[in-house]
Symmetry: C2
Subunit: 79 residues, 2 copies
């Protein structure tokens, strides 16, 4: 079963990578106001159903994939 | 106007970051078969309509945000 985990920085947290890219794009002449990066992690799991897939995804975020102090995450099953 | 650009590695390209995380998750006991990372870039643009937003997004991918040799990208307008 395939899941997709999206990890976003919390809104109040600065995104240094985004700031650098924002400046670079502006210097290239693009009409950019802000840039924020997120991670998308596609994981193939050996589980029996969607419920277990979502639960496993959340557990992996807690243990390894996301930093709860500065990030939030969503887990969804994809086709 | 807000756009979201998704940059994925082409399927035939190895994802070293994914491989490392895959091993780490397996060592932690998770039933993981594969892990692939993608980038999601949220950009606020000063443009007049959706068509211009999409065109600008594609242009930014070509010039800076994606490496066409190993990556593919999609651009969409978000609310």
């Amino acid at each position: 079963m395939l899941i997709e985990i999206r990890v976003d920085l919390k809104e109040e947290i600065e995104d240094p990578q985004g700031k650098v890219v924002e400046k670079a794009l502006r210097n290239l002449g693009f009409p950019v106001k802000s840039v924020r990066f997120s991670k998308l992690i596609k994981i193939e799991l050996d589980v029996k159903d969607e419920k277990e897939a979502i639960e496993t995804g959340k557990q992996m975020c807690k243990v390894l994939l996301a930093n709860p102090v500065i990030e939030k995450y969503t887990v969804k099953v994809i086709p």
